[in-house]
């Protein structure tokens, strides 16, 4: 327990200390909201699909969570390069506890980031359909964050340096985001694309946010919970296994 706590505390402290990271990671969601929310809004309206800003807001929350969560996991590569990883590897503690603590820390940070984006969209005029469901939505944010922090940690355990960074960005993070239905409705898509969307765990995360925040989902909250929960467990197991195999 203490191991999990101290690993968690480290992640959160590091995050709260780097003001540039907090502000920097808010730039992207705000840009998306401005450019897409206001830019595509009128067309979306004309097509009869309703208010695009309300549709987009949960997607942008999901975006900030997946980016922050995956990068918190990937940070382990920096730990490896700057040597701190060795300090945790020689410690007489369970590898699973180390992995879980740091993943939980990364997920906490990503959830904070998601909540900040939620506050920003509310300031910009977004109104949740039911305020009472907002805390439940935040719990789902934590679950989504945990899923992707574990994925990031799994990837990081298998990489030695930052050379693979671009690869992860272009072939993992970007596709996960763009093919998740964060930006467009997933009904009536070409079959191939619709299949891919159903395969992307983030689709279920964003669907759950839409159900809870704007009452407009397609998979159903039970389905979202089952998929997110089981994928999280699988990623955590994979990450712990890879972490226990790390040698320096």
């Amino acid at each position: 327990m203490k191991t999990i706590y101290i690993m968690w505390l480290r992640e959160v402290k590091r995050y709260l200390r780097s003001k540039s990271r907090i502000i920097g990671s808010l730039g992207q969601p705000i840009l998306f909201l401005l450019a897409l929310g206001y830019g595509l809004g009128p067309i979306f309206q004309k097509a009869g699909a309703g208010n695009y800003f309300d549709f987009l807001a949960p997607g942008i929350i999901g975006m900030s969570i997946i980016f922050t969560a995956i990068f918190s996991g990937i940070q382990m590569i920096w730990d490896r390069q700057f040597g701190f990883l060795k300090e945790t590897l020689v410690a007489p503690v369970n590898r699973l506890a180390i992995m879980f603590g740091r993943t939980l820390g990364g997920a906490t940070v990503a959830t904070i980031q998601g909540v900040v984006v939620l506050v920003i969209v509310i300031i910009a005029g977004f109104r949740p359909a039911n305020w009472g469901l907002v805390p439940v939505a935040i719990l789902f944010m934590l679950l989504v964050a945990l899923l992707f922090a574990a994925l990031g940690a799994f990837v990081a355990s298998n990489l030695d340096d930052m050379q693979g960074f671009q690869l992860i960005m272009n072939f993992l993070v970007m596709p996960l985001f763009f093919l998740s239905g964060a930006l467009f409705p997933v009904q009536g898509l070409p079959t191939v694309l619709a299949g891919i969307v159903r395969f992307d765990p983030l689709s279920y995360g964003i669907d759950s946010f839409r159900i809870l925040l704007v009452n407009n989902g397609i998979f159903g909250i039970g389905m979202d919970l089952v998929v997110l929960g089981s994928v999280t467990i699988v990623f955590l197991a994979l990450a712990s296994y890879s972490f226990s195999k790390i040698q320096v």
């Binding site: 203490k2 191991t3 706590y5 101290i6 480290r10 402290k13 590091r14 200390r17 780097s18 700057f82 040597g83 701190f84 990883l85 060795k86 300090e87 945790t88 590897l89 020689v90 410690a91 007489p92 503690v93 298998n158 030695d160 340096d161 040698q247 320096v248």
Partner: protein, 267 residues
């Protein structure tokens, strides 16, 4: 006296390359033991295996009565280590780095606070405890790492080239502290260095490793007598030759290349 470190037929191969080739040695409890060798001889690889972060290809390691292969956590409790390159968290303060270590090693809160203050005062960093480690110089980081490595009162402390890049003042201070700990607490010190006069002055016993094999072992005097040389430096050169070796990093690179290959195959 009992042997605190026992190494039997230890082997480490990276692909075709044999970094450590069937070495055996013992270190007695309370001894100051120097492990010398040219770059790429296998020093760091051996330390990594002794400290459980690298799995040997073959052989046995017993540390403080515990087998490194079957009971790594007991072994991990028994040693402290100062790595060749820094292993601190730059984004945390000096005190937080100490805290983190103390919690990981299960040192009870009250005792932890006491020891942190005592150790940080000793390495003269108590005034800087609230500073982020990234503001520290190389020497300060090294001192902090030594303090951290001792926080859980290990039976053995490993130091991998601990004085690299330190000025004579810091180096002197560090060794006098470690010698005092060795005298008063009976802590076993295992270190590597490229400074021969340091090994000659500090170490009670010396092993020289080259091309993955231990080629000589004994007191500094014994090594000098064996080679008929005046100084340990000359004895060392006599034993290991004058050819300049490839950089130590090449071993790491080889390891990494191997790692990539291996992981690539698994995916």
């Amino acid at each position: 006296m009992e042997d605190i470190i026992q190494v039997k037929n230890l082997v480490k191969r990276f692909g075709d390359f044999t970094a450590v080739d069937d070495i055996s040695f013992n270190v007695k409890k309370g001894e100051i033991f120097a492990f010398l060798g040219p770059n790429g001889a296998g020093k760091s690889t051996t330390i990594k295996m002794l400290t459980t972060i690298l799995a040997p290809t073959g052989g046995e390691i017993t540390l403080n009565g515990n087998d490194a292969a079957t009971d790594p956590d007991a072994v991990r409790h028994s040693f402290g280590i100062v790595f060749q390159d820094p292993s601190l968290d730059d984004e945390l303060t000096a005190e937080e780095n100490m805290e983190f270590h103390g919690v990981l090693y299960g040192v009870p809160t009250k005792l932890r606070r006491e020891r942190i203050q005592q150790l940080m005062e000793f390495v003269e960093l108590w005034d800087r405890r609230k500073s982020l480690v990234k503001e520290f110089s190389g020497g300060m980081k090294r001192r902090l790492e030594i303090a951290r490595g001792l926080l859980h009162h290990p039976a053995v402390i490993f130091l991998d080239e601990p004085t690299l890049g330190l000025d004579p003042q810091t180096r002197n201070h560090m060794w006098s502290y470690l010698e005092e700990l060795n005298r008063t607490e009976g802590i076993t010190v295992f270190f590597t260095t490229h400074y021969m006069e340091e090994a000659e002055r500090i170490a009670q016993r010396i092993a020289i490793i080259d091309h993955g094999k231990i080629i000589a072992m004994g007191t500094a005097q014994e090594l000098k007598d064996k080679t008929g040389k005046e100084s340990l430096e000359d004895a060392f050169l006599e034993l290991t030759g004058r050819v300049i070796r490839e950089e130590e990093s090449s071993v790491t690179e080889r390891m990494r290349a191997h790692g990539r290959m291996w992981r690539g195959g698994r995916r």
